[in-house]
């Protein structure tokens, strides 16, 4: 399998003061479905920004598709073939839809990427129409972003990336703020895209979707280092790891006369299999 990203001893700090990533070593290959999990502020979003060449490592080396990713290569004024190739290959769904939806209408938003790629006008229209039909957005094609619901905004964000048809999808907290039905829709979409051979890298702290959308999980600790890099099933079964990464906490609550004690993820359903009972 082709190596897509290769990070060697990568660290990043904001304003040379606030450390966000510390000594990261990892390799990601084509077709993988990976979740990057960790508590708030552990460095997940920073890693995604580095993978999308929007910010750069303050130390260490980053390679994408076998080429070094450096500020000089991406911010050069002259036409940069690799930068253009990279942008067609990698798509990034931002956590905040308001940041990503900068166009006047849904149609313009989805057409923005293909237009930047320099596709002929007819192809841009065709792609945009097809993506809108696929995501059931055709009926809101002329709506402005501020008039959309949270779920619709997220769909448009994803549509605006899918219209570029990238092989690698980076998603930052994609289920945040979505209702259960839209979360389910998104999970199924990511599964379909995985079947289509896309590489999907998702940063999340929603433990309920980890096993559904990924086969490999990279766990970040609150010290901004990688705590574990193994199969998603292994990670989800390692209670100690999840507790130490502050992804679950020891939770207790009363059911009538019984006190339940069990590990609890920060969001979502209780896992009652591991229950300790105490009588009040």
């Amino acid at each position: 399998m082709e190596t897509i990203f290769d990070l060697q001893n990568v660290s990043h700090s904001y304003l040379d003061k606030f450390e966000a990533l510390k000594d990261i070593n990892l390799t990601m290959t084509a077709g993988e479905q990976i979740t990057i999990i960790g508590a708030n502020g552990s460095g997940k979003s920073t890693l995604l920004l580095i993978l999308d060449a929007l910010i750069y490592a303050t130390s260490g080396e980053v390679y994408a598709f076998g080429n070094p990713v450096t500020e000089e290569r991406f911010n050069a004024l002259e036409d940069n073939e690799f930068a253009r190739y990279f942008r067609t290959k990698v798509g990034f769904v931002f956590q905040n839809p308001d940041v990503q939806l900068f166009s006047s209408t849904v149609f313009d938003e989805i057409a923005f990427g293909p237009l930047q790629l320099g596709l002929p006008r007819e192809d841009v229209v065709k792609r945009t129409e097809e993506v809108m039909a696929m995501l059931a957005l055709s009926n809101i094609r002329d709506r402005a972003p501020h008039t959309l619901s949270g779920g619709e905004r997220k769909k448009v964000c994803i549509g605006s990336i899918l219209s570029i048809n990238p092989d690698v999808l980076l998603l930052d907290e994609p289920t945040g703020g979505l209702d259960p039905r839209t979360q389910l829709w998104l999970t199924e979409l990511l599964q379909d895209l995985a079947k289509a051979g896309k590489t999907i890298i998702t940063a999340t702290h929603d433990m309920n979707i980890v096993e559904q959308i990924s086969t490999r999980s990279i766990v970040f600790g609150e010290d901004h280092t990688i705590r574990a890099d193994c199969s998603s099933t292994e990670v989800m079964n390692d209670q100690e790891l999840l507790l130490s990464a502050n992804l679950i906490h020891e939770h207790q609550h009363w059911h009538g006369e019984l006190l339940h004690k069990h590990p609890h993820p920060s969001e979502g359903e209780h896992h009652h299999e591991q229950v300790a009972h105490h009588v009040r």
Binding site: V99, F102, F107, L117, V124, A144
Partner: protein, 312 residues
């Protein structure tokens, strides 16, 4: 885990009387202002979707026509011709399915503020000499207002009145044309049509993004004020409120800078390299050509009548 004072709860029923505020607070006025902007923009969108005369025209034709008319109006000196153009805007509003009375009110809200205050002094012989129309006061020779010498009598002049009426009609016609353009054209199409008058692409993109993010920032401002009101137990002096608003202005500046950085990242991520590419879907129809020729012809004829080069 919970401190002691948090364990205390008040169970006594409330016996006080609710007082009614006589006027809105500074914060409430700000929220209302932000919300009225949303309301206005939603109303504008509903007009733009109606199947009326101006809505059926290509936005580029409308933009150029309105631009030509506004320039033409500034060259017209006859109040009668200006009145005809103003009445024409009402006819256009009617055929564009805009409630005429609402449209008139919307236009005339701006006139006293922007035109009236500026031009009213020109009514008097103090600023523009002319024949007496309405005498106001007799001051006698050698009257002064500070260092300014005043005439022996103050009156409203015929020439001043014609000047003021002409000026106000000119402003009313221009404002009506501009509002008609905004009401009957979807914002995204209006901004894109700026390309027809050779506005550089980068400005078109910037204007349309500014318009989009005004909503986001207004929404944030409304949320800030609402959150503050929800925690405000007693009303604060206006000075305190203004100080708080000053702080929020700074916060909004920082937030908007941060948002602009992230938006730029999102654009770069989707292949933006500084070369702006926009979609143009507009197709000119027969009616568009007819409209632009009619507007140009009307404009030229009315300008010639106004300058007395041709007479009816």
């Amino acid at each position: 885990m919970i401190p002691d004072w948090m364990n205390r709860t008040e169970t006594e029923p409330y016996h006080g009387a609710a007082s009614v505020a006589k006027k809105k607070s500074f914060g409430k006025k700000t929220i209302d202002g932000a919300l009225s902007f949303f309301r206005e923009s939603l109303i504008s969108e509903t007009f733009a979707k109606r199947k009326g005369l101006l809505q059926s025209l290509d936005p580029r034709v409308k933009l150029i026509s309105m631009f030509v008319l506004v320039v033409g109006v500034t060259f017209m000196t006859s109040p009668w011709v200006l009145l005809v153009i103003y009445l024409l805007t009402l006819v256009l509003a009617y055929f564009s399915k805009i409630e005429v009375l609402w449209f008139v009110k919307r236009v005339w809200v701006f006139i006293p503020i922007f035109a009236g205050v500026i031009v009213i002094p020109m009514l008097f012989n103090v600023f523009l000499a002319g024949n007496v129309l309405v005498p106001i006061a007799t001051l006698g020779n050698g009257s002064h207002l500070g260092p300014i010498a005043l005439p022996s009598s103050i009156y409203i002049t015929q020439q001043g009145t014609i000047y003021v009426v002409t000026f106000i009609l000119r402003v009313a016609a221009c404002v009506s044309l501009a509002i008609l353009l905004f009401l009957t054209t979807k914002q995204d199409l209006l901004f894109k049509s700026l390309r027809a008058i050779r506005v550089p692409k980068v400005y078109v993109l910037t204007i349309s993004m500014c318009y989009r993010y005004i909503f986001l920032l207004l929404d944030t401002i409304a949320d800030l004020f609402t959150a503050r009101r929800s925690r405000q137990i007693t009303s604060l002096p206006t000075r305190e409120e203004q100080r708080w608003v000053g702080g929020r202005v700074g916060y909004m500046l920082v937030k908007s800078l941060d948002t602009s950085d992230k938006v730029h990242q999102a654009m770069i991520s989707r292949g933006f390299d500084g070369d702006v590419k926009l979609m143009h879907d507009n197709v000119m129809h027969h009616r568009d050509y007819v409209a632009i020729v009619t507007v140009l012809a009307c404009c030229v004829i009315l300008a010639l009548i106004s300058r007395s080069i041709i007479s009816l």
